[in-house]
């Protein structure tokens, strides 16, 4: 028999650490190194001329494009104008979805008729790619601002409603029984127990929803847009302006990441009990 320190066994616990879960420990510094290495590789392969600028422009070229877009503009508008157009679409759709999907999801959780009514349409259209129903949205609602927001809204609605419904289902029956045994009415139980207990899942739904909103942005700006980050990227692609494409992708990524950080911060403020009970 070989000594029992084979690959099948974990390493001995380091002093002061718990022996156990695979993957325990911090990973932030590794992520920083990964990011630095990727950006370094980008500098390396472009400056050494290993990749043609058409396929991968250098970071300097992308940054120059960024500065040019800020001042002179690309595709007829400055970068700020593109960003405002896209942000208003994504956030318009997001707030519309918050105002409708969360109540619908909660209603689905607490009322079987609502669940029976809303479940088939939501579950049917949820897995469809927005590009597939984009033509219909255009045929029905035209080419103004509304259909663009509506397309993003549809993409956000389903995951948010499903998360709110799951939140309602996650309430423990003891908490509900306790409220009833203290004289609570069904309405009070929904308002004071179920809504609060569903908050963590609702926040998760909001994070997923806004992420989906950003992924749908380019589709929404495919038709009859003259402004917007998605439009800017698509427009640049037609002229093979890959520096503008990459600049647009980075800008969208930064906005999406910044908003996710904000929601995570609000989550910590609003639901300090998450994961502790």
């Amino acid at each position: 028999m070989p000594r029992r320190t084979s690959l099948l066994r974990g390493k001995p616990a380091t002093p002061g650490k718990v022996y156990g879960a695979p993957g325990a420990g911090h990973s932030g510094h590794i992520s920083l190194i990964t990011s630095a290495v990727l950006i370094g590789l980008w500098f390396l392969v472009t400056s050494m001329g290993w990749v043609k600028p058409l396929f991968l422009p250098s970071p300097q070229a992308v940054y120059a494009k960024f500065l040019a877009a800020m001042t002179d503009g690309v595709a007829g508008s400055t970068l700020a104008e593109h960003a405002v157009a896209s942000l208003s679409r994504v956030f318009g759709a997001f707030f519309l979805a918050c105002a409708t999907a969360i109540p619908v999801g909660i209603l689905m959780g607490v009322n079987r008729y609502a669940r029976g009514i809303f479940d088939p349409p939501i579950e049917f259209y949820r897995p469809l790619p927005p590009l597939a129903y984009l033509p219909l949205v255009i045929i029905w609602f035209g080419i103004d601002e509304f259909p663009k927001i509506f397309l993003i809204y549809l993409a956000i609605f389903a995951p948010m409603a499903i998360a709110a419904r799951a939140g309602v289902r996650s309430v423990s029956i003891e908490q509900i029984h306790a409220a009833y045994a203290m004289g609570g009415t069904p309405t009070q139980v929904i308002l004071h127990v179920i809504l609060k207990a569903a908050l963590p899942e609702i926040f998760t739904g909001m994070r997923i929803g806004i992420g989906v909103g950003w992924t749908t942005l380019v589709a929404a700006e495919m038709v009859a847009a003259d402004r917007g980050l998605g439009f800017m990227v698509l427009n640049a692609a037609q002229f093979l302006a890959s520096d503008t494409v990459i600049m647009g992708i980075v800008v969208i990524g930064i906005f999406a990441f910044a908003f996710d950080l904000l929601v995570r911060y609000l989550e910590r403020l609003a639901i300090p009990w998450k994961g502790r009970i």
Binding site: E174, H177, A178, Y180, A181, Q188, P272, I277
Partner: protein, 281 residues
Amino acid sequence: MTMPSHASPSTAQTLCAENVGVTYPGLHDSEPVVALQNVNLTIEPGEFIVALGASGCGKTTLLSLLAGFLSPTQGRITLAGEPIVGPGADRGVVFQKHALLPWLNVLDNTEFGLKLQGVPRAQRRTRAVQNLELVGLQDFHQHMIYQLSGGMQQRVGIARALTCDPAMLLMDEPMAALDALTRETIQELLLHIWQRTRKMFFFITHSVEEALFLGSRLIVMSPRPGRITHTFALDFNRRYLAEGDGRRIKSSPEFIAMREQVLGIIYGDERAAGPAGGLHA
């Protein structure tokens, strides 16, 4: 309102269960499950009833019936002559796992029932403060639930149930998740609360020692079908309240003799049921 939980208008109320049974319909083609059969139980004000029995004997089913979370398929249950048709503020419940609301602090959790009933803020605060003091948590008003130990969480659960001033307090193994020391402390605390409030207590436990120490009446239940098989009148709790030495009572010859007798009954049930089932004396 000076001492609301101690001079309640509920002292004339009696709980009455007559020929109560619960039968769950069988799944597919299996036989219906008789969870509880032919239970007769009368609880007078000021009684401390402890229900003890092996797993599956219907203790929790009985408590759910009394709380109104479940309605019986046979028989009827009344409180002060009125049939029990659902949960209500006249029957407080303390759960096995605390079931407190993590987004509220200790004081707000304790007030929660009165808030649901629309009691003005100042009044509900006064009553919550009194009951938190009764369970020894006067210094923890602003703490969040997840900052407390398991024993303190259970004490908040007891204070919360008391604050609604119910006629009876239903407790479903509230000490099951606590360590032995905390358990003894809370057992003694419960007896003092019982003495001061004179409410009806209905308490479920797996532990024979806990049952004998707490109850003024012990009902022993047996499984398949769930039913009450033995009833014992006890006075160890009154002796504790008079003498104040829990350990001495638990090691007295009468206590040990009683414990062995009850354990004999329950082990008999366990053997009849096979190797499954968990019991700690």
